[in-house]
Amino acid sequence: MEIANLPISASQRSKLLSAGYATLSSLSSLSPSHLARDLNIELQEALEILKVVSDAADRSKSTDGHHQALKGVQTAWDMLSEEQMQQHITTGCEDLDHILRGGIHCGEVTEVGGVPGIGKTQLGIQLAVNVQIPVEYGGHGGQAVYIDTEGSFMVERAHQIAEGCINGILDNFTDHDRKILACQEWMQPNSFLSNIFYFRICSYTEQIAVTNYLEKFLKEHKDDFDDLACRTRILSGMSLKLMKLAKTNNLAVVLLNQVTTKYTEGSFHLTLALGDSWSHSCTNRIILYWNANERYAYIDKSPSLPSASAPYSVTSKGIRNSTSHCKRVRMM
């Protein structure tokens, strides 16, 4: 690796080059005080430069193909055992969970798109509630971050869905009355709501800021684009950060997307917004659509699951299996 490719500032680079250091090897056995004197810079700065150099040298060292020298690399066998232990978040609809082999995958980014009114926000809220199902009942006992760019998150609906989820759990355990009573303090809809962290963002700058801030947040506990290239760059930057967040924190990242129309194969079709380059960025994609009178979810992109469709319905309790007869469910 050449000096020109190191992640150092332009002035540091020009000083190195003008002092005659053009390759990494020329710097490999240099002491910081010698470098500081040569470049006429502070000792601290020289130390920093040498640190960057040694990091770069480690990365490019080839050590007879032994994989452990390369940082962050795993064999496919190691990854298999990781994949088998992969956690899922249930969607509330058994058919949909079935085609997803358990639910939305943790550690990956899943995109969900569909026409207005099909239930994307409903699914988002359902997942934010379902991730909190206690471990004893087959859930994760986790928390959720909900980033709202449309203003469509309705708290009352989240409360309803939380209630529906809790009642669904309690229904399965009618003979464990004592256990139910014991749980009752923290199995309240309000405590579910207190575990959903809500960000309302109004511009892409805020979305970038949130994505950058999330790393810190997770340690403690989204204008008008005139420049299309800028938009593509920002989107891909965000998706890379989200993928990294998903992987390091074993998070399930779910992105809800809108639809737009596109002219392909001689006619107009519905397609997800943000264009072709974005469609490469997410690991998984689920499209929600209408088929006759039913709502369906279709796995459009997944590295491990076959394409399949499953029906689901939106009820007062949240996302559930579709009912074969259209029974009237009142939202009160």
Binding site: P7, S9, F197, N212, Y213, H269, A273, G275
Partner: protein, 362 residues
Amino acid sequence: MSNKLISQMGLPPSLSHVFAARSIITAKDALSLPEFDLMALLDVPLAHARSAVARISEIACPPYQTALSLMEDRAGSGGHLPTMLRGLDDALCGGIPFGALTELVGPPGIGKTQFCLKLSLLATLPACYGGLNGRVIYIDTESKFSSRRMIEIGENSFPQIFRSEGLAPKMAGRIIVMRPTSLSDFTDSLQQMKLSLLQHEVKLLIVDSMAALVSGENERSEGGPGRHPLRSSLSFLKSLAEFSRIPVVVTNQVRSQSKDEAYYHTFQEERKDNCQNSEKFESHLIAALGIQWAHAVTVRLVFEAHSGQKFIKVAKSPMSPAIAFPFIVESSGISLLSDEGIDVTGPEINTIRNQGQNILSQ
């Protein structure tokens, strides 16, 4: 948030001077650049650029709340404007929601403006009669506002209030009618409105109709990123609704479908031929303003006519399933013929029908 000045973010002085020297003034400027570009531009080591970005992000990021505190914040303010149509209010869990955009869409002459007139009146009424006791801003782009008709609605719906002296002019005096003539006029008046909304206790904003402002322009995207002419007004309206916690009602027109309309995803190809004919022969109307607009509104009420009756259909709502109520327009405004409503499922939710109605009824 994106316009926060970097100079006020408490970065180390050397760093903030460099930002200023490179004309990176706001958070938006800084966060739009990839890290390496920023490092090259500012001529600082990568670690410094990264920590600066992290600090700027933390400050530019809007504050978060738990959903629970969100609910507690909103619990005090009611949250809905009752329409006095019991079935509709039940379906919407109280009425027209605060802090969100509600859209009324339907063919001309069906009763959208009548509905808006009644809503304006309801918002001005004192709280004891179920109103919001506030002012209303009515943006009338097609010169359809009729004060005479509104007083008539008031006298017939709330005779006890309106017969008493002085109350009718007082109520009517709370409704401010604006008549912008073009889209730029409209956006200008919106900007001016931002501050005055809170000062003047405005409790309802009605735009009748949104589609008229773009009728001269091609509202379908010319491919590419889909630059919607209304996009900035749209996001502004939404933020206005949210920050002042008021209901915003917008009416939309209908237009005929063209062959180019898209209904299906590409993976649905094989079903297209079977369903296409049967579903579409009756309805040749769709809402104007396109699919981006449809995504942006929170509640959509479709006014349509079929089988000899008119219906208000709750086509999109985060709180309720699709349901339609038959209605008529009479001297006291709109009234529902039945509070029970009819379930609507499938593609019917989004179609708009306009046939079989007798325009000259009453």
